[in-house]
């Protein structure tokens, strides 16, 4: 017992001793904390507080006179659990909101809404998706959120001619499979990558960009697109893996390369600790990431380091649309997240089809094919492959611990 006490005393003493150094260090701390990314002689880009909502945006409520069978069902397929659950939750809350608004306004047409969990894992997605296509009542689907699972299951939808609109899968190759049932409710990476490169070199005036990508389908695609568009402005590149927590080796390479800006193609789960460690090592430039990084979780996990961060996203800032924001908050008890509004809009496209009497899979599919109207976030009109005609890419920055939009970029 005595010895045990001795051990803990030693432990405490050991830590105390070493804290001494940290304490000394901390006193000189404030002077060095003053500098952070954006204001290091760089352009200060103001944030915007409103976005233009299309006047004639189609809303889920419709005219209130719709009638349909009580079995009419829409489905969401995507992550509800697992490591990427948050993105899925953002989306299906958006869909749920649309369905609720529709059903409240249309007593004659109560559309059912079912959720199927894929955990965002392509290997687990075939089961739920097959179940969806085998349930005859399901005539339209919003999903799947990720490129990998979309790739693994696209042909199943195709076999059963069931229309599905992805609110967030951005891999450009998805529309090259010849699928007629796949639609994308946002711009793909081939749009976002060059836009991000333009943003880096023009708006941020970056001269030495270090590109880091993760091992995801998404990160690789975007990293490649962006580095190609950057050309000589890129001074180096590295790869990290999903789940990585320690980025010290990448960071020392970045510091040695004297990069002024880091572009990270991947998700916030790795992006946040990366940025945090980067700043902790004394990096004073900007950190730019795509839509996968743009999430409140990024700020939460990167801490005050996140103030050097900018994001690019083919998504509209849904929180700037007051009606949507307040309604969403009521439903989900949280601010709209990334892709909430895409989920909402995608559901609206399908619901308005139902309201127009397109109540079979076949009808609804042709409805979406020929759809040409504004949604809350953008204009929806797809080409033959399922890509949107003219998607915008928005820029965002971190301001006072919040993500603030800075308007359309890359034009």
């Amino acid at each position: 017992m005595y010895r045990k006490k001795a051990l803990s005393v030693t432990a405490v003493a050991a830590v105390a001793l070493s804290m001494l150094m940290s304490g000394c260090a901390n006193q000189s701390g404030p002077s060095s904390t003053g500098t952070s990314g954006g204001d290091n002689g760089k352009v200060n880009i103001p944030s915007i507080s409103t976005v233009d909502v299309p006047k004639a945006a189609v809303l889920p409520a419709g005219d209130g006179k719709a009638t349909c069978a009580a079995t009419t069902t829409l489905a969401y397929a995507g992550a509800e659990t697992g490591p990427n659950a948050q993105l899925g939750i953002n989306i299906f809350n958006g869909i749920q909101l649309a369905v609720n608004q529709h059903n409240a306004a249309n007593p004659g047409c109560q559309v059912q809404f079912k959720k199927f969990d894929t955990e965002g894992d392509p290997n687990k997605a075939t089961g739920p998706v097959t179940q969806i296509v085998s349930e005859a009542d399901i005539i339209g689907v919003v999903g799947l959120p990720f490129s990998g699972e979309s790739k693994a299951t696209g042909n199943i939808f195709e076999q059963k001619k069931l229309v599905h609109i992805t609110p967030s899968a951005t891999n450009p190759n998805l529309t090259k499979n010849g699928w007629t049932t796949f639609f994308r409710a946002l711009g793909n990476d081939a749009v976002q990558g060059p836009a991000a490169a333009k943003f880096l070199t023009d708006k941020l005036q970056a001269k030495k960009v270090y590109v880091v990508q993760d091992d995801s389908d998404y990160g690789i695609g975007l990293g490649t697109q962006t580095s190609q568009a950057l050309g000589s402005a890129m001074v180096g590149s590295d790869k990290v893996i999903t789940g990585q927590k320690d980025f010290s080796a990448v960071i020392s390479k970045i510091m040695n390369a004297k990069a002024d800006t880091v572009y990270y193609a991947g998700y916030y789960a790795e992006g946040a600790p990366f940025d945090q460690q980067l700043v902790a090592k004394g990096f004073t430039g900007s950190f730019v990431g795509p839509d996968g990084v743009k999430d409140d979780q990024f700020i939460k996990q990167a801490g005050d380091a996140s103030s050097n961060a900018f994001f690019t996203c083919p998504c509209i800032p849904g929180e700037l649309i007051p009606t949507f924001e307040s309604e969403y908050k009521k439903l989900a008890n949280a601010e709209p997240g990334t892709y909430s509004i895409e989920g909402y809009d995608a559901a609206t496209v399908l619901l308005s089809g139902i309201d127009h009497g397109k109540q079979t899979r076949e009808d609804l599919l042709s409805w979406v094919k020929s759809y040409d109207a504004d949604g809350l976030s953008k204009h929806y009109k797809w080409d033959a492959t399922g890509e949107l005609a003219t998607p915008d890419v928005y820029g965002y920055k971190v301001e006072n611990g919040k993500i603030a939009p800075i308007g359309v970029i890359g034009k």
Partner: protein
């Protein structure tokens, strides 16, 4: 696939290599350039691995059991740190507090983490392993139970805190202390390395000199004889779990210090695997082996990734070295001293 791989083996472009066609480079320039920074980063992480590895090694020494749940013992410690610091109003920004206040706060966090981890370890042993021992279950049953406990704790935390990591809390902003050949060593790295080494030396001395330590060694060598000699085996086992937990709690503080966003339901798993690898590398059951193995795993991984061109290589290099070492020295670098020698 080979035809694509081979030309890239002779690639040695130091910078800005195109991303598509190169997957392995032997970039000696990069290693030379980043050698010292890799060394200090490697040592920092290595120290954390070593502390966690001690928990594996002690339990293995006494029970011959890979305590897979040890990574969860560690992550509970991380949550202990997180909640203490949240309660003390630490935020994403480094607080501007007087020196002793910071030391006091961190010590408080340490105490909470240590208690949380040690308690978890003790509960796991009582709830999961002891019943198995009483029933004389086969060894695999222990391992599967360990895995089950690991899953259960992870998903208890998941259920309670959700899938996302906790918000980052900065304890203090690292500041440069001195530099070695142009590489800056900061206060954070020094704190972690020094504190961890002191803790490990203390553990080593404790196992070597104290009465409890002698008991642990006796049980490790021969549980039945130890019992006959008047050692209370059950108490020793419990103490061993507690010490392992205590060290994991300390490791948790340093880990959260280094990676504030690492507090997540499954955040301990991979770290646990690497710490276990470290314990085996040094010689499982051997306290000094855990220290050596931890530091080596940290260093090798860092050198490897700098040499081979991307941080994706860290774990590959670490595991390949582990396999090579075991082929040459089947009992690890320092051999198994706490545990039994095998016939």
């Amino acid at each position: 696939m080979i035809s694509e791989a081979i030309p890239s083996l002779i690639h040695a472009v130091p910078m800005a290599v195109p991303m598509d066609d190169t997957w392995i480079t032997f970039d000696v320039n990069s290693l030379a350039e980043n050698f010292w920074s890799s060394t200090f980063d490697g040592l920092t992480f290595g120290a954390i691995y070593a502390l966690v590895a001690l928990g594996y090694t002690l339990v293995y020494g006494v029970l011959n059991l890979i305590n897979f749940a040890h990574s969860e013992v560690f992550i509970v410690g991380c949550y202990g740190v997180f909640f203490t610091l949240s309660a003390l109003n630490f935020g994403p920004s480094a607080p501007h507090l007087p020196f002793w206040a910071i030391v006091g706060n961190l010590l408080l966090a340490l105490v909470v983490a240590v208690i949380a981890s040690a308690l978890t370890a003790v509960i796991v042993e009582r709830v999961a392993y002891k019943p198995l021992r009483r029933r004389k279950a086969p060894r695999l049953a222990f391992l599967i139970t360990a895995i089950g406990v690991s899953f259960a704790i992870q998903y208890l935390i998941y259920w309670w805190r959700g899938p996302s990591p906790e918000a980052a809390l900065t304890m203090f902003r690292p500041t440069p202390i001195f530099d070695v050949f142009g590489t800056i060593v900061d206060s954070q790295q020094l704190v972690i390395i020094i504190a961890a080494v002191i803790l490990m030396v203390a553990t080593d001395q404790f196992i070597r000199r104290s009465k409890t330590g002698r008991g642990i060694r006796a049980v490790a060598q021969d549980p039945d004889t130890a019992t006959l000699m008047g050692v209370n085996k059950e108490k020793i086992i419990l103490t061993t779990f507690a010490i392992g937990g205590l060290l994991a709690g300390a490791a948790a503080l340093f880990y959260v210090m280094k990676i504030p966003s690492g507090v997540q339901y499954n955040g301990g798993f991979i770290l646990g695997v690497k710490a276990f690898a470290a314990a085996v590398l040094g010689g499982i059951g051997n306290v000094r082996g855990a220290l050596l193995g931890g530091l080596l795993i940290g260093l090798i991984g860092n050198y490897g990734q700098v040499l081979l061109g991307s941080s994706q290589w860290t774990d590959v290099v670490a595991f390949v070295v582990l396999v090579l070492v075991l082929v040459v020295r089947p009992d690890g670098i320092l051999g198994t001293s706490l545990g039994k020698s095998k016939a």
